[in-house]
């Protein structure tokens, strides 16, 4: 090795180590910022939640207790209205499934060109506010020939519309993940009719997607206020609002319960999705 080459190599090693050090510093800085952003996000999300929880525990002066929760759960109207919300949620989910799963399936299978139009329709609840929607429904179905005001049909119809974007998107995503056409044709070639195909082939392979839609719909209906209040039906949303106007601690306790309900739903989706054979098979199908 001559001196020139030796110098050259030394310079190269020096530059290389400097570059390496500078890369490490950049990476460390990036990592620090990521942590800062994460902590800020957690604080932004959890501090109000924790404050609500902490406030709900202060009902008895001078000490923390679950008194607000005891009061909330001791109110018979809580069970009455919560029960109604559960009923509305169950009916909404059933109607949504019967309406959306076959529609989305048929659009995927036979009318793929209509997909953008259907998607647009399902997004309407994001564009039209619930108040406008409910007044429109009251005006349209409040007088003959079709009078639905005063029946729960209008409430359920409204909830189905509200849950459309969530339910349709969940089912649509599920359908995109499986080869709907080939699976349908395979089942047909084995003698299956439409009912069997939907029941035995499509529904089971959309299990996770459908459950996502179901729990999202459940969470929406359980917390919904506008429709239930304006159509004058008992529900958890109007009850919370009413309690909030009269009491200080109990509404906070109900808020926490409401949060837990939503988280419980999400947790249930995650738990059910874990190890679903359909999900894994979709990945394997691309082998």
């Amino acid at each position: 090795m001559n001196i020139e080459t030796g110098r050259g190599l030394g310079a190269w090693a020096f530059l290389h180590s400097r570059k390496k050090r500078s890369n490490e510093v950049t990476r460390k800085r990036g990592s620090v910022w990521a942590w800062i952003i994460l902590i800020l996000g957690i604080l932004y999300f959890f501090v109000p939640l924790f404050s609500t929880f902490e406030f709900s525990m202060r009902m008895l002066k001078g000490r923390y207790s679950f008194e607000a929760y005891r009061v909330a759960f001791g109110d018979s109207r809580f069970y009455h209205d919560f029960g109604f919300s559960l009923l509305w949620a169950a009916i909404t989910i059933a109607v949504s499934l019967l309406l959306i799963v076959p529609t989305a399936y048929w659009v995927h299978l036979r009318l793929p060109k209509l997909r953008p139009a259907v998607e647009f329709v399902t997004l309407m609840p994001f564009v039209v506010p619930a108040v406008v929607l409910v007044f429109g429904l009251i005006k349209l179905y409040g007088s003959p020939p079709i009078t639905l005001v005063g029946t729960p049909v209008l409430l359920i119809a409204g909830y189905v519309v509200l849950s459309l974007p969530y339910m349709f998107r969940a089912v649509d995503t599920g359908l995109r993940a499986i080869d709907v056409r080939t699976l349908t044709e395979a089942a047909q070639s084995l003698g299956a009719g439409w009912g069997t195909i939907l029941k035995d082939v499509i529904f089971p392979n959309l299990r996770v997607a459908i459950l996502s839609g179901v729990f999202l719909t459940f969470a929406i209906v359980m917390g919904e206020f506008t429709f239930a209040a304006l159509l004058v039906w008992p529900a958890f949303g109007p009850y919370m609002e009413e309690i909030g106007a009269m009491r200080a601690y109990t509404p906070q306790a109900l808020s926490v319960v409401s949060f837990l309900l939503t988280w419980g739903s999400i947790g249930l989706i995650q738990w059910v999705a874990r190890g679903a054979p359909g999900q894994q098979a979709q990945i394997a199908g691309t082998r």
């Binding site: 499986i178 080939t182 044709e185 395979a186 084995l190 035995d200 392979n205 359909g278 990945i283």
Partner: protein, 356 residues
């Protein structure tokens, strides 16, 4: 009447996309017929018409003497194997195979017995409780085949079933498919764009192009006696060249200033007419003594070693020809640029199109 009769079937998509036109074919019981052609030639559409997934604009499909043209797919009793396997991901291998039997309301004992039978047929006994995602591609396709066969269909339709598999498994599985088809004596239609697959598997091959049938024949006929320029070009490697008729009575033609004699008659042609002729690479050989018929002067352009064969590229005038010779360790090959002579028999000269 043939067991499966496809009569003047045409299928047009949209207003003017002709997928299949005037498709006529009779398939006998126990026969395996391949539809061979490039992408978009209409082979899969024809298969889907037989399966009932497409309704033809014109024509009829008869199965066992019955018109099934308007019958829905689930009432045709036709088994189908898809390129993408199409196993039901939520069901085990056993449930997949038994699906059609369950729909046919067979007893659980019979279903169990048939599933075992099918698993044994595809050499996958003991795999009944696995899910499709736990199988390799080849195993999944075997299960798909068993599932289609479990219902004992009148016709088995296979839509490019091996396309998604790697070369080695493809060769093994195609032999297995043929063996099972022959063992069960089932009538089958096999769609493929792979000529080797079609030639090795089939009793007859239907070569398709642009929605039309180009030629129907045994693999031997299709390869050795192509009736159209397309078939000759599509099936196997071919040297095709335009030639001029010199003496129609003696079947003598000329190209690149050299004469060849064909065994095929040139009836209706006159001296000076232009025709397309073709010679397969394996029908050409070096002319040792120069006395054989059809001796052509050429120069060696390139030599490619392909394992069992050696492909020699020669230049005749301005045209390039391929010549294949079997490889052996003592093969004496000429040098590139060397002047030499090649020859072929009169039967090797195929006259493909006339008057072009």
């Amino acid at each position: 009447m043939a067991f499966l009769e496809i009569l003047k079937v045409s299928k047009i998509f949209g207003s003017n996309t002709v997928a299949v036109k005037d498709f006529n074919l009779n398939i006998e019981k126990g026969e395996l017929v391949s539809f061979l052609g490039p992408s978009g030639c209409g082979k899969t559409t024809t298969l889907r018409v037989v399966a009932g997934f497409e309704t033809p604009n014109e024509g009829k499909v008869y199965l066992g003497g019955e018109d099934i043209t308007d019958r829905p797919p689930n009432q045709r009793h036709v088994g189908m194997v898809f390129q993408a396997y199409a196993l039901f991901p939520n069901m085990t291998v056993g449930d997949n195979i038994g699906f059609g039997l369950k729909i046919a309301k067979k007893s659980p004992t019979e279903i169990k017995q048939r599933v075992e039978e099918m698993l044994s047929l595809i050499h996958m006994s003991g795999f009944g409780n696995r899910y499709p995602y736990q199988l390799s591609g080849g195993q999944q396709q075997r299960v798909a085949l068993a599932r289609a066969l479990a219902i004992r269909p009148q016709v088995l339709l296979l839509d490019e079933p091996l396309s998604a598999l790697d070369a080695k498994i493809r060769v093994a599985l195609r032999a297995e498919i043929r063996a099972i088809q022959q063992q069960l004596g089932i009538t089958a239609i096999y769609v493929t764009h792979d000529q080797e697959e079609a030639l090795s598997l089939s009793d007859r091959v239907v070569v398709m192009n642009n929605g039309y049938i180009e030629q129907v024949g045994t693999p031997f006929e299709i390869y050795n006696f192509p009736q159209t320029e397309f078939v000759a070009q599509f099936v196997g490697t071919l040297n095709a060249i335009r030639a001029e008729v010199v003496d129609p009575a003696s079947n003598i033609l000329r190209f690149e200033g050299q004469q060849v004699q064909a065994a095929q008659g040139l009836e209706g042609l006159h001296a000076g007419d232009r025709v397309m002729i073709a010679i397969r690479p394996e029908r050409l050989s070096f002319a040792a003594d120069g006395r054989k018929p059809n001796v052509l002067d050429c120069s060696i352009e390139n030599i490619t070693f392909l394992g069992s064969i050696v492909r020699i590229q020669v230049k005749i005038g301005n045209s390039s020809f391929s010549m294949d010779t079997f490889n052996n360790p003592f093969l004496e090959l000429p040098k590139i640029g060397e002047q030499t002579q090649i020859t072929c028999s009169r039967e090797a000269v195929l006259v493909l199109s006339r008057g072009s």
